[in-house]
Symmetry: C2
């Protein structure tokens, strides 16, 4: 018999709002993490714990019980004071750790750590502790804990103290930054994160590169030893560090694509596109997604290939993100400004080179996936990147994929994609041209290969692989 699962993540798969009928109703969230974990939705022995986000969530949290979501999964919420949540989430997780893992600081000038950092770090520790305590309380069911992502790196160590024989997996959906760059963080922060993760039985990353970075970082921490075979020991605990690249839920995305509402949006996109070729990008407005250089590379492509002017349109679907952080607001503005400049300089009366839609609409993205000729996925660094898998799965024009070699997804899709260095405008511009001008045979061969790669893995397989590894590392107790 399988162990029950307990998932912990900052944001849960469902949020609750009070409907017109006065009842709390579940609303499914989107995002890569939830997609990756969709394998647990149909398990009736699974509980998912996350931070309360909506008033409905908070109400559920206050009542202290699991909520039903229309799936077999039970969800629970942790109530966190807004000020504390701000320090944990905006201050440390997004303001520091995301920047560290994606190399986003302008090192000559930022970050500068001071009192605000220390306060935010206290918040971060306390929120991680609240998660650990909530998880420990579920320990009697002897679950496998699946602790998710860079917001909760301290949970494995804290949970280990509370439940020494707990079976704990931590998985990072982001890259793990290099050992030298990690030294930007205050030493106590860095050490706490590495020691916290080392409390798990299994430490998972999206790609081998992030495993290696973690191991090199761990070597620099007093008390942690790196053993052969990608293992780290800390105290009595030994953790195995391994890559488990996430997968997308092919059936769910194809179901979405087949829905009439999506078809209507597809009609809209088709009308916008006309007879022209279509370049597409879909991302959060995050500096690591490299939207600016994407526009610049497209501009360079148009300058070098004037015959394509008027013959191609670039649709950028951009989801607002982390607007609490000034660097994100500035970046979003710069992206829009740059697109407007390019449109002003290269556009013609009946042709606008770039259309940016700032919206959060997953369905619209699925509609657009269907129609692109080239999909541009050029993050500076990215843990995995699901758009690179979702697009080829839905697309029906044998569209080409231009893919950054610094995305974790490149390890899976690199052979069929047009690989680029995301900092290299020449190479990216040439890849856009190659994608548009590829022969039908090559286009078909690559598109099929991309589909096959995306279909070869599933969210349930991803979880199963972690659970198999867990059984090897720490077998379930017989006494159950």
């Amino acid at each position: 018999m399988e162990s029950p699962l307990v998932v912990a993540s900052n944001r849960g798969p469902f949020n609750f709002d009070r409907g017109r009928d006065g009842k709390l109703a579940a609303r499914r969230g989107s995002g890569g993490l939830v997609t990756a974990l969709s394998g647990v939705f149909e398990r009736d022995d699974a509980i998912w714990i996350s931070a309360a986000m909506t008033d409905g969530d908070r109400e559920a949290a206050a009542r202290g019980r699991s909520m039903k979501s229309g799936t077999a999964l039970k969800t629970r919420f942790i109530l966190i004071e807004p000020d504390r949540y701000d320090g944990y989430y905006n201050g440390v997780a997004n303001g520091m750790l995301w920047f560290a893992h994606h190399f986003l600081w302008d090192i000559a000038r930022s970050p500068t750590f001071g009192d605000a950092t220390e306060k935010a770090w206290d918040d971060f520790v306390e929120v991680n502790r609240a998660f650990a305590i909530a998880l420990a309380e579920l320990g009697d069911i002897q679950p496998v804990y699946l602790v998710q992502d860079y917001q909760l790196p301290l949970v494995p160590g804290m949970l280990r103290e509370l439940r020494p024989d707990a079976r704990i997996v931590h998985f990072s959906h982001t890259p793990f930054t290099g050992a030298t760059y990690l030294r930007v963080l205050p030493a106590p922060v860095r050490d706490a994160i590495l020691k916290g993760l080392a409390g798990a039985d299994l430490i998972g990353f999206q790609a081998r590169a992030w495993v290696e970075n973690f191991l090199l970082s761990a070597r620099g921490v007093a008390g942690i030893r790196v053993l052969r075979g990608g293992r780290v020991s800390y105290g009595d605990q030994i953790a195995v560090v391994r890559a488990f690249p996430v997968a997308i839920d092919a059936r769910a995305i194809r179901d979405t694509a087949a829905e009439p509402e999506t078809g209507q949006m597809r009609g809209e996109v088709r009308a916008w596109k006309g007879n022209e070729a279509m370049l597409l990008r879909v991302d959060r407005l995050d500096p690591s997604k490299n939207i600016l250089r994407g526009f610049l590379a497209y501009e360079l492509f148009l300058q070098r290939n004037p015959s394509w002017r008027g013959g191609v349109k670039f649709l950028a679907l951009s989801t607002p993100s982390r607007e609490e952080l000034p660097a994100y607001r500035t970046y979003a503005e710069d992206c829009l400004t740059e697109a407007a400049r390019i449109n002003a300089e290269l556009g013609e009366e009946d042709w606008i080179p770039i259309t940016v839609r700032v919206q959060e609409d997953y369905r619209y993205a699925v509609a657009a996936y269907d129609l692109y000729d080239v999909l541009l996925v050029n993050p500076t660094y990215d843990g995995m990147n699901l758009v690179a898998m979702e697009g080829p799965l839905v697309n029906r024009r044998r569209g080409a994929l231009v893919l950054s070699r610094n995305a974790g997804a490149f390890a899976r899709l690199g052979r069929q994609a047009l690989g680029v260095n995301p900092f290299d405008l020449n190479e990216t511009a040439a890849a856009i041209r190659d994608g548009l001008e590829m022969s039908p045979e090559e286009r078909t061969r690559r598109a099929r290969g991309l589909q096959r790669s995306a279909l070869a893995h599933s969210p349930s397989g991803w979880i199963a692989a972690q659970l198999r590894a867990m059984d090897e590392v720490r077998p379930p107790r017989r006494s159950r």
Copy 2:
């Protein structure tokens, strides 16, 4: 009998100018690299090859002969076209590789590689080739080649092709960046650098951390294998990768300190300082030196310790550097602006908190070393940092050293220094206070320890260690 030595570096230890008497006269250059290599000055079997910088150098290069410098060492110059030198030096070495090794890019926006990069890279390859050819021509004397620094990473591989049995050491005075960050560089650039270095018999770095970064990077290159014991193989060649932290020339610096001209400058500094305590920093105006955060941390210290207002002065000796690069010009301006702002906000009629002297005057720095109470060395990242060793050697006030944990020198001096995370203003401000308020006993103990560490190593010992390692890796041929 020892093998003769041939040193290659971008900038040589002497430059030549035509004096009033019409003859070419040698002028000794400064800088960390020349200091580190001063162990070869008195060897009459040593030749040093560098790029011609002055008209006198170019004249000497055109004549094609070795120049005498007043030491036993012979120097030779390579003539490089100004435009080619610009691409090699400003375009690639300082504009790309220095930024890569010190994590200096603002990744969301810079770098963007394009045609200019490709042209500069061609220049870089050709200049490295010119060095390799010049070195190969000296192969008949069967020397040990000591190839220096990040400007010449391709030389070992190129020289190996020309002289398969050459005995080649490459030493990097900078950090070696992390494997993930190195992926910012265009793939052909990254691969060429790693393969070029792998052509050496011995690859030296300032610190263990840089050795580890190099090895992890090398693992990602097709054709290079990383073997046990810190070795890399490429083709038929096996290179040993090891840390050889450089040393300073204690006698030379104490001689300089004892000269009357230095004494006069010391008088100047003493007069400026008055009865107040003195904080000192000495660096090139380079973003990696972290001058801005140094000023901000001092400001924070003054705000938190108002009793020190009027009681301490901060002298910043700042050498102009790389003014061809816009990022350097902006950084230098920002440093001066920030100091002026702090002076305006905190200064009083008879007290200016910060004095910045923008000048290139090694003697003045030696004079100032004598008098500081606290020396602030807080680079964001630094291969080694010689100021941290020079200061304590000269200082006669048992001054404290505040030292970044991200400087290679921290491995040698960390126990006696006040270690700081260079991004942490709180920690740096507290360390400045601790340095100023330290008890006489602790002050004495630490200052003695710092002196001992600085004295325990010498430039000749540094070279001897590399030559011993070379003898193990590739023994000299018997036939000589």
